[in-house]
Point group: C2
Chain length 384, copies 2
Amino acid sequence: MGVEEISISAPGKVILHGEHAVVYGKAAIAGSLDLRFHLNLKKTRDVSIALALPDIGISQRVELSALQSQFYSMFQSESQREPVPASDDVIAALKNFLHLDKDSHDTKQLAVVAFLYIYCSIFMVKRELPSICVEMKSEIPVGAGLGSSAAFSVALSAALLQLAGVVTSEQISDSLAAWSATDLDIINKWAFIGEKVIHGQPSGIDNSISTYGGALRFQNGEKTRLDRIPTLSLMLVNTQVPRSTKKLISDFRHKYNTYKEIFEPVLSSVEAITEKAQLSLQLFKETSDTSHHDTLGDLMDMNHQFLNLMGVGHSSLDQIVATACDHGFHGKLTGAGGGGCAIILLPSDADAVVLEKMKAKFDSLGFQVFPKTSFGGRGVMQHL
Amino acid sequence: MGVEEISISAPGKVILHGEHAVVYGKAAIAGSLDLRFHLNLKKTRDVSIALALPDIGISQRVELSALQSQFYSMFQSESQREPVPASDDVIAALKNFLHLDKDSHDTKQLAVVAFLYIYCSIFMVKRELPSICVEMKSEIPVGAGLGSSAAFSVALSAALLQLAGVVTSEQISDSLAAWSATDLDIINKWAFIGEKVIHGQPSGIDNSISTYGGALRFQNGEKTRLDRIPTLSLMLVNTQVPRSTKKLISDFRHKYNTYKEIFEPVLSSVEAITEKAQLSLQLFKETSDTSHHDTLGDLMDMNHQFLNLMGVGHSSLDQIVATACDHGFHGKLTGAGGGGCAIILLPSDADAVVLEKMKAKFDSLGFQVFPKTSFGGRGVMQHL
């Protein structure tokens, strides 16, 4: 614990294909989105934990003495490498300690609970609670289905585990350090515990992607990391239209049940899109032949239309995809739909002037634009 | 041949479901569209045939003596009830007689050729060419995939066969007379001959629908008349955007071949829509339960989206369907797509004010609107 400062970033996630179909046992592909959650941890002499995530209005100070006296007995398992899921009692006690309503489902508040749970789990057993100040900043829009809470959990776990010496990063460039596969597995397990505190029953997909980066195929609860995946340039457009994932899933369930003969084949089409996309990603990585990149564009357009058919579209999402098309690009809604975000695939030779024009159009429509991000890039990293 | 005047009307046709999918062996349902082709035939003493179809600029006068002298030997088969398809030689001779280019594919000019072919076939053998004046008027937009040429062929065949006494109508109301099933079969056969002159290789669907009315299911060249089909109220909107059916079919063929795993299920979905529509039509007819009418609306919306996926949509067609949706109705493109027409299903209790508002919107967009027509109504009729 000789370090005085640890700077970490972890990416968001975006679904490339298969959203909704995955509920029906079809495969989906998601990957890291290079909008990152940044965490800066400094050791202090205040005998406290100071947390600041000004983007979402989190500012919390916890006295270590109070934490120690109230929670020492609750965190005594020697399990830094193999974390124990939070029990309801411990969560209730932490909420009480933070003066939160015991039934609170506010993810911002639960993020603070997750922070304290992970902190206590790692450090309490050693009777050595480090005094730290943690400042966080997220490029990832919150509540937009882009895995912002998982990126938080991953960055937090990496920072605290690195501080505790449970994992050890290795320098990979002038400014970056990364962890071994074994260390990443430990970080990922802890991040999943954090996700559970925040979301109850997360799939584990978001934290896996944020930890390892790249892309993941998931089907029926099975996750498979996709090797040989290229990094794709994307423009991400956030409609900022709020929606309920739960309602969208249940509305489509109703539609599916009413017209099963019509929607069973739709799910097969979407599955075929996912398979073809996986193949095209691999072929594009292997051959750099841009025709495979073109295919990825076609598949996005088609999947967007299928998602519309499934009733999870939104006029603002159509506007984004139509505008992309007008400028010679292809895109689709990503995630639950009904609002939220759309992604637009950018070829490497995309004309900067055209991109600027397209961005201006989205700005004028009141959307939040991330003009150039990427899919399938690096997972959690330490910044030196 | 005691009649001095015969007034006939024959309906257009509209595809309810299955356009494009039918090319791949899936079923389609089409039915009569109650926009009608009107034909008024009067006996004259001019020893000529005078044809007028001012809507499309046809005005033709043919001297019977010239017709008789040039074509007497070519039309000698006694086959008024079982027509003989026109040979290339006869068609070439008729084109020459009318001073048309021998390679002309102008359907307006070919309609005149068809007229003369049917006229000569029916009357020449008896050496009794009636002197007539035929005035025609079509409510059916020409070249919009609504079977205007078939309605022409059907009305023409009915009028000439009635004049010749080959078929005999029977009064069914104060103002209408109709033909027996046997007579309709004869009219339909002659109309098909007319369609062949105009179109080369017609499917026979359009003339069958215009002759018998109601609805028809067709699949792999097989036609099945659908009994117990209700008459549905429709608003028909013509974008007046020109398109090539051939190109649309070939573009989708290309898409299908490129992404077969994706589009094979799409065709299954469209087939399921057609089956469900057929069932819903029957159930609505039998029970008058409006939930089946609602289902028909849902199916239209869905099929429209599938047709978009197949790449045969058009922004103007989407505008029509979206406007219908905004006013609480459902609709789809009909026919080849890429422009052409859309149909909107009207419940019997549709609010007249809302309909007027919707029509005004379509007017303002520059579309041609037929605010209230119907699907599945009467075939060819004689007006008394």
